[in-house]
C-alpha cells in the first residue's frame, strides 16, 4: 500500500489554510452528521442492532478461515472463480491476468476502496488498459488525477465550481458555453459521458461491501446505480475485495446493511443493493459471462492475531470520519493514505507500516467521538493509543518527547521535587503574564503560543502551597 503519511505535518499546513476545503468540510459536518443523528433517533433498537452487528462480525472473524472456504466453495459451485491475493501486487496481477485473458482494452469500475488500496488504476494503465470510474465522485477525482479524500464521498473536497471546471476541460465534445452551475447539469453530463463507456467496456470491476458464505454472493450498495451497470453490461465481472468482509448468512448481511446505511448517510437502505452470485445462468436475462472474486489479505490476517483485530469489524461506513474533529479540520488528503480519519489512522500502520504512518496515530485528541458513533463499536481511541505504545517501544517517538517524559516522570513521583518545580513554574508564568494575565510567547511553549495565548496563573502560588499556608493559619489560630 502506497502512503505519503511521512509528509503529514506539511500536508496539514496546506490543508488548514485552504478555503475551498474548509467550505466542503463544513457542508460535510452539517450533512452527514445530522442525517445520521436523525436516522439513529428514529430507530429505538439501534443500540441493539449495533450489538448484533458486532456479534456477527466477531463470530465471522473468529472462524474466518472456515467462512472464507465456504464462500469460495459456493462461488465455484455457482460457476465463478476465487483468486487469493496475499498483497496488493498479487491482487493487481490477478486482475491483469483476467483482463489480458479477455483481451480487455477498457474496464469500467464501480467504487472500491480495496482497488484504491492496491492502486489498481495505476496497474491497469501501466498495462495499457483504460480504467473508467463510474461512481460520480470517483469519476471527478479521476479527471482531476487525485486520490479519494473520503471513503464514501471520494470527491468531498471538490467544490461544485471546481467540478464544472474539470468537466469543461475534459468533455470537449460539448459546447463551451453550456450551463454547468447546477448539480443536476453536472450529473446529466456525467451520465451521457459514462453511458458510452458502460457499453464499450470489456470488463467491469466492483468492490464488495459484504461477502456471504452460505450463498457465495457478493453485495454492493450504491446510490447512483452505476455499480449495476458496471457489473451487468461487460462480459466479465471482477469483484476486488478483502477477506474480512465475509459474513455467514444472508440474514447476517441484512443486519449489517441496516447499520451501514444509517451510519453512513442516514438512509434506511442505500438506493441500490445488488447481490452477485456467479456468472449469468442460461435462463438469466442479463449478467456477465465470467465472474471472478479477488480476495485480498494485505496485512489483515496479521491484524487478526493482534490487538488491532477489532478494526477488522469495520464496514467502511465512514461515521468515524464524518464525526472526527481532526478530519473536519484537515480533510482526507493530508493523511496521505486512501483510508483517512480514525479508522485510517488505525489500519494504515497495519496495512503499510508504522514507520511510514507513525504521525497518524498521534494526530488525534482521543476525544472518543469515533467510537461513540461506530456501528461496529470498534475501540478506535484504544487502538490509536496502542500504536503510540508500539511507536514508543520501537523508539520512533522523537527524542525530545522521550526525554521530556523521563524528566516529568522523575518529578511526578517525588512530591517535594514536584512542588518545587510547579512553584517555580507558576511564579515564572505569573511574572511573564504580568498584568495581562497571559503570555503571547512563552519559553519552551512556542507550539502553544503560535496559535493561542497561554493563560498565566493568578498571583498567589500553586494550589498546594496556598492550601498548606491556609492550613497552617487555621492551625495556629486554634
Amino acid at each position: 500500500m502506497h502512503v505519503t503519511s511521512r509528509a503529514f505535518k506539511e500536508n496539514v499546513r496546506g490543508a488548514v489554510t485552504d478555503p475551498n476545503l474548509r467550505q466542503s468540510l463544513a457542508t460535510m459536518k452539517t450533512g452527514f452528521r445530522a442525517n445520521r443523528a436523525k436516522a439513529v433517533a428514529a430507530l429505538p433498537e439501534f443500540e441493539a442492532l449495533r450489538d448484533a452487528g458486532k456479534a456477527i462480525k466477531d463470530h465471522a472473524l473468529a472462524h474466518l478461515d472456515y467462512y472464507l472456504e465456504r464462500f469460495e466453495e459456493r462461488v465455484v459451485a455457482a460457476g465463478g472463480h476465487v483468486h487469493w491475493a496475499r498483497d496488493g501486487d498479487e491482487a493487481c496481477r490477478a486482475v491483469l491476468d483476467i483482463c489480458r485473458a479477455h483481451a480487455a482494452r477498457v474496464v469500467t469500475k464501480g467504487k472500491s476502496m480495496v482497488a484504491e488500496e492496491i492502486a489498481l488504476n495505476q496497474a491497469l494503465e501501466a498495462a495499457g488498459i483504460q480504467p473508467v470510474e463510474t461512481d460520480l465522485g470517483e469519476y471527478i477525482i479521476q479527471l482531476r488525477q487525485e486520490l479519494p479524500s473520503h471513503i464514501i464521498a471520494p470527491a468531498i473536497h471538490v467544490r461544485k465550481h471546481q467540478v464544472a471546471d474539470s468537466f469543461r476541460a475534459h468533455h470537449r465534445q460539448f459546447p463551451a458555453d453550456r450551463p454547468l452551475e447546477e448539480p443536476r447539469d453536472l450529473l446529466d453530463e456525467a451520465r451521457v459521458v459514462l453511458r458510452d463507456r458502460f457499453l464499450s467496456a470489456d470488463v467491469g470491476i466492483t468492490g464488495a461491501n459484504l461477502l456471504i458464505a452460505e450463498t457465495g454472493s457478493t453485495i454492493i450498495v450504491t446510490n447512483e446505480g452505476n455499480g449495476d451497470l458496471t457489473q451487468l453490461l461487460p462480459r466479465v465481472h471482477i469483484v476486488v475485495t478483502s477477506i474480512e468482509k465475509v459474513v455467514p448468512t444472508l440474514e447476517d448481511a441484512a443486519t449489517v446493511l441496516r447499520l451501514l446505511a444509517r451510519s453512513a448517510t442516514g438512509q434506511l437502505m442505500s438506493s441500490y443493493t445488488t447481490l452477485s452470485t456467479g456468472p449469468r445462468r442460461p435462463d438469466d436475462p442479463d449478467g456477465p459471462e465470467h465472474f471472478h472474486v479477488v480476495l485480498l489479505d494485505n496485512g489483515r490476517s496479521r491484524m487478526l492475531g493482534s490487538e488491532f483485530r477489532d478494526a477488522l469489524r469495520c464496514i467502511r461506513c465512514a461515521a468515524c470520519i464524518n464525526h472526527c474533529p481532526v478530519y473536519g479540520a484537515i480533510g482526507g488528503h493530508a493523511y496521505g493514505s486512501v483510508y483517512p480519519g480514525p479508522i485510517g489512522s488505525v489500519i494504515t500502520p497495519a496495512l503499510a507500516s508504522l514507520e511510514e504512518a507513525a504521525g497518524l496515530p498521534n494526530a488525534s485528541t482521543l476525544c472518543g467521538r469515533c467510537e461513540a458513533v461506530c456501528p461496529m463499536r470498534i475501540p478506535l481511541p484504544r487502538m490509536l493509543r496502542n500504536w503510540r505504545e508500539h511507536e514508543f517501544a520501537r523508539h520512533l517517538a522523537p527524542a525530545r518527547v522521550r526525554w521530556g517524559l523521563r524528566i516529568w516522570s522523575l518529578a511526578a513521583r517525588r512530591p517535594a521535587l514536584y512542588r518545587m518545580g510547579s512553584g517555580v513554574t507558576a511564579r515564572l508564568l505569573m511574572w511573564l503574564g504580568g498584568r495581562r494575565g497571559r503570555l503571547s510567547w512563552a519559553p519552551m511553549a512556542s507550539a502553544w503560543t503560535r496559535v493561542r495565548d497561554l493563560p498565566a496563573p493568578p498571583p498567589g502560588g500553586t494550589f498546594m502551597t496556598r492550601f498548606r499556608t491556609m492550613q497552617g493559619q487555621r492551625r495556629s489560630r486554634r
Binding site: 499546513r13 516522570s409 498584568r435 493561542r452
Partner: protein
C-alpha cells in the same frame, strides 16, 4: 481486594470536619499550577454539600501525559504512585474538578495495574471511588444546595473525557440552573472537541489551532459573555484562543461559578487590568 490493606492517609491535610462522607480532593496538576481558585471552589462546594474533605499531600499528576504518549511503563509507575498517594481506602470518595483525570483513574488505572499483585485491588478500589466533581454532587450526593449568584449569560463546552468517558452532560447544567441570575445558552456544537487533547495541542498546533478557532467562533456566536467547562486543559485552550483574538468573552471553570467565586479572581487568561469593570 485480597492485597489491599486499609492505609492511613499519611500526610493528608484536612479541612473543617463534618459528619458527611469523607472525600479526598484530587486537585489535578493543571488546577494546581494554572488555576488554584478552582481547587478552592471544589473544596467549598464539597463542604457545602456536607463532605469532610482531605487533600492528600503526595498527589501530583494522574499520568495522562505518559499514557497518551504511548509510554505505558511510565504511566503504570505513575498510576502506582497515585494509588498510594490518594490512599482511597481511608476515604469514601475521591473527587476531581476534571472529567479527564477522573476518567483516567476510573477507566485506565485498573487495566494498567491489573498484573501488579500488590496494586490491582487497590487500583480498583480507587477507580470505584473516583468521580468528576459535578457528577459527584448530582449523581452520588443528589445535592441541590447551590448558593451562588452571577448576573451573566454563560455557555457550556462539554469536555470529551467527561462527556463520553463518564456521561457528564446534564449534571453541570442542572447545577448551573440553580445559580441565581445566570442564564445558559447552548453552543451549536457543544460536544465538538476543542482541540486540546493533552500533548496533541503542541504536537499538532496547526490542527489544534483550527479546532479551537472553530470552538471560539461557536462561543462568540452563542452570544454568551462567559464560557464554562469542567476541565482546565480545554479551558486554557479556549481562553487562550479567545484572548489571542481579543475577545471579551470570559472563560472559567464551572466550579468557580457554582461556588459563587467567579468574582473573586480574574477570568482565565485575564489579569487585573483586562478584567472588565
Amino acid at each position: 481486594m485480597t492485597d489491599s490493606k486499609p492505609v492511613e492517609p499519611a500526610a493528608a491535610t484536612t479541612t473543617a470536619s463534618a459528619a458527611g462522607p469523607r472525600v479526598a480532593l484530587l486537585v489535578t496538576c493543571l488546577v494546581d499550577l494554572f488555576r488554584p481558585p478552582v481547587g478552592f471552589a471544589a473544596l467549598r462546594l464539597l463542604e457545602q454539600a456536607g463532605c469532610a474533605v482531605t487533600v492528600p499531600e503526595a498527589q501530583t499528576c494522574c499520568g495522562q501525559p505518559a499514557f497518551n504518549s504511548g509510554d505505558r511503563a511510565t504511566a503504570t509507575r505513575q498510576a502506582r504512585f497515585m494509588v498510594e498517594a490518594l490512599a482511597a481506602e481511608a476515604v469514601d470518595y475521591v473527587v476531581a474538578p476534571s472529567g479527564s483525570c477522573a476518567e483516567m483513574i476510573r477507566a485506565h488505572y485498573p487495566a494498567l495495574l491489573a498484573n501488579d499483585r500488590a496494586m490491582a485491588g487497590r487500583a480498583r478500589v480507587l477507580a470505584d471511588k473516583t468521580h468528576e466533581l459535578t457528577s459527584f454532587l448530582v449523581d452520588v450526593l443528589g445535592w441541590t444546595g447551590i448558593a451562588a449568584r452571577l448576573e451573566a449569560t454563560a455557555t457550556y463546552h462539554d469536555t470529551c473525557s467527561g462527556l463520553r468517558g463518564l456521561g457528564v452532560r446534564e449534571q453541570p447544567r442542572r447545577l448551573l440552573g440553580q445559580v441565581e441570575g445566570l442564564s445558559v445558552r447552548e453552543l451549536s456544537a457543544p460536544e465538538e472537541c476543542c482541540g486540546f487533547g493533552g500533548t496533541f495541542c503542541v504536537k499538532y498546533p496547526d490542527i489544534s489551532g483550527r479546532m479551537v478557532g472553530d470552538k471560539a467562533d461557536d462561543v462568540v456566536a452563542s452570544g454568551a459573555d462567559l464560557v464554562l467547562g469542567g476541565d482546565m486543559g480545554c479551558l486554557l485552550n479556549i481562553a487562550g484562543m479567545l484572548k489571542r483574538r481579543g475577545s471579551a468573552v470570559q472563560a472559567r471553570h464551572v466550579a468557580e461559578v457554582l461556588a459563587g467565586m467567579a468574582e473573586e479572581t480574574p477570568a482565565i487568561g485575564e489579569g487585573p487590568k483586562s478584567a472588565p469593570g
